[in-house]
Amino acid sequence: MSLRPLDLVGLILIGWGGLGLLGLVVPARWGRCLLFPLITGLSVLMAGAGLWALQGGAQTLVLPMGLPGMPFHLRLDVLSAFFLTLLGLAGSGISAYATGYFRHMAETRAGDFQRLILLYALFLASMGMVLVADDAYFFMVAWEGMALSSYFLVTTDHEIPAIREAGFLYLLMAHLGAIALLLCFGLLQSGAGGDYAFATLRHHSLTGFWSSMTFLLALIGFGAKAGLLPLHSWLPEAHPAAPSPVSALMSGIMLKMALYGLLRVLFDLLGQPLWWWGALLVGLGSLTALFGVLFAAVQSDIKRLLAWSSVENMGLILSGLGLTLLFHGAGQETVAALALAAVLYHALNHAFFKGLLFLGAGSVLHATTERNMAKLGGLIRVMPWVAGLSLIGILSLAGLPPFNGFVSEWLLLQAYLLRPDLPQPWLNMVLPLGAAVLALVGALAGFAMVKFYGIVFLGQARGLVLGEVHDIGLWERFGMGWMALGCVLLGLFPSSVILQLDTVTHALVGQGLGASAARHGWLWVTPVAASRASYSPLILFAVIMVSVGLTFLGVRRFFHGRWRRAPAWDCGYPFQTARMQDSADGFGQPIKQIFESFFGLSREIPSPFDPHPHYHSEVRDPLWALCYLPLVRGVARLVKVVGVLQQGRISNYLLFSFTTLLALLALVTGTRP
């Protein structure tokens, strides 16, 4: 029997699990130096297996495990293959980084570290299992495994109460989502009378009301994982709480599992979409993006800023997905393929640049033990590697050419701009608003990224002793360099990437983009026609370099050679201190001012006569008060009512069981014919 990609994927998943278990028995020091590089190697292999599977058809495998009569079904098709590639590519960079990052932990907290290896490997393996699961039962097992392992990873530093709280919120939301998913699969199964295998569900289509209900349940279930408004509140709490490589895994990869789930259910299992599904997704996605980026711009904690920006990016991805659904429903498959390619491309890009930035933030946190941007600054001088690689990350995230973030936003904008021709005329008119939101979100992301980079890496240190800060080691450099290289390559060779995505768009919407996008050679991206729009990042990059180089040479030619260093000028003010620079709060102040009514903002501004002035400002999520607090209060009230029954006396409890038994007996005898 020859090896198929699916067998290889299965072996890698087993390998990850085995390495995790091995981590429990080998000493922590060996675990770090040996097991993490092995996990990295398997990730690279996973990327290779994914790319291999992208070329071919679907393969299936039935494992004789699971419940009696319900064995685990595995299936690897091109959609799974794309996400496996993403998992492998981003996972290898992050795991290589983790090898170096956990050095300190392995030396000081060996027991915790051994558990961490196990959970880390299980987290990777369960994400892989989600992607190859081919029945609802196995899918839910993998999905819950992913949630649980990441929950324990988030609460690695469980001594800190705030982290315990964040973990609890995460677990709660994960389970709400899981309940919705269970119901969703239940509805999908209803009437099919089978074994919950996706193969059965695929041939069984729902109609009308129940089909819409299934869509809504899937939206809630996967939206809770993706951070879709208003189910996003756990994301900015849980992602920053985890150790940085885990944050990178969660933001970079785990969020994409939600996208995978939505794609699987909407395009594969559920039948023809209704038009309002797409409209709802476009609306919610755009709102989420705007909401996320506004909150990212006013954060002062480096990791929370990045987490909010993940909310933004997932919003963009989901709005693109909505667009795909709209056009797919209307039979406009060319535009649907364009939007879908943009979505998948952005998912891949986000995995790379957000992973890179979380790793960079981790290095800053590790070297300075400081997450508050108000205390950082000037790190470019002592951490040139982190600063240089993070620069690529922020330029990508801000969507600037010729880096990767720009390509996917460009594709998405093109999808918006292709003259929409939907059966609903009012939708045709409203859709450009989506493009407007996208443009605004892109510009605001630029604001947030200048703030992030400028405050953390540039300027002067705010109260930090820079001499004690050290740059990252070899493994970390390799990990971050891998991610940065991904950002650059994905930005420079878009048509090659789109060609790879072709099989996926073919499978989902029946049309590919590759044939037209790469019509003019690998240098150019032309989504529809050259007269419509074209973009060539490599040429752009080359001419920027030539232009900048010529400027440099020209100036050099007439250079007189006189330059010196002196204290900063600053309009001639001599008593400049580091505290006079903008703090993170100060930089975000315009956004707070403009969108004051939008934020739940509380500020304490000192009076000019105060001898010990104290400034405090807090931005709260208005949705927390609007959606969550009423829910919490409702639950508390319900608990109080139920509490009346709980007297703590055994005789009462016996009475309850007795009455229950009687009631049941009455029910049974009553219904018997």
């Binding site: 600054g377 000037g378 470019i380 001088r381 330029l395 600037l400 050419p401 720009f406 701009l417 003259r419 045709n428 008119m429 450009p432 608003l433 407007a436 443009a439 605004l440 510009a443 605001l444 630029g446 604001f447 200048v450 703030k451 400028g454 540039l458 300027g459 002067q460 150019w524 050259a530 007269s531 419509r532 729009a533 074209s534 973009y535 060539s536 752009l540 001419v543 920027i544 232009s547 900048v548 400027t551 440099f552 100036v555 250079f559 007189h560 330059w563 010196r564 260093r565 002196a566 204290p567 900063a568 000028w569 600053d570 309009c571 400049q576 620079q581 903008d582 930089f587 315009p590 403009i594």
Partner: protein
Amino acid sequence: MTLVNWLLQGGQEILGILLAPLLMGWVGIWRAWLQNRQAPPLIQPYRQLFKLFHKEVVIAETASPLLRVTPYLLFGCMGLTASLIPMVITDLPLAGAVDVIALVGLLSLARVFLALAAMDVGTAFGSLGARREMLVSFLAEPALLMVFFTVASLNASTSLRFMVTGFAARGFYLYPSLAFAGVAFLMVLLAENGRIPVDNPETHLELTMIHEAMILEYSGRHLALIEWANALKLLIYFSLGFALFLPFGLTDSLQGWEILRALILFLLKLTVMGAGLAVLETISAKQRLFRVPEYLGTAFLLAVLAILLHYLLGS
């Protein structure tokens, strides 16, 4: 794509670079006249650049290499952008590589680097300038994009070449959506170039300055490059405006006399509109900084209205 096209593209870059300070001088003269001052000579900006290039460069002790790289990057990006816009001919070889969205991205790349370099030294004014610049840009950039999208939807293309020739092919029509887009574009032009309702290029008053606050730490040839790039930016916005809203005279062919005619028309447009800018600046007052978001918000909404109007009337 012949050698001639490449030469013309390169020629356009050089033309833009050489012409930009002249435009600054021209606007300066008109401002002086309108304010009853004696005007500086037309070539004053060149003299200033010449002087700056020959001065010693003083770099702050706390500066990182980013500060020194930025002027070159800024100038390179602006020069490149100038070569991409159809000023005289539309058939530019690079037009296929960079469409309007990428053009906005290129301008934005230059701006992000300038803002980061401003924060690099770690002075109060530097970060203040960077913050205000990003504040202006986060509303101005989407407004500019929406203006482009309106024109792009009209001509079913985001490539500048086809956006311009699309109009030429259909002759003269009045588009209501273009009127909105034109007003929005003018507002963005004023904001992005630090002109009067938003910023004043002639002040160093800390309450109001935006662009000047960012470049306080530069001197010598670095400052010269930045000033020059700034002049180029004005020229870029002018020629973008001409290409989108006054495209007459632009030629798609490579015949000598047509190019000459297009060049003369381009210079004529610059002359008139440069004076117009000075008039506009003189009759309006500088706004308080926190009125700026309202101003730019208006520009953004106008641009969004323009594209909505296009779909409302067009479909």
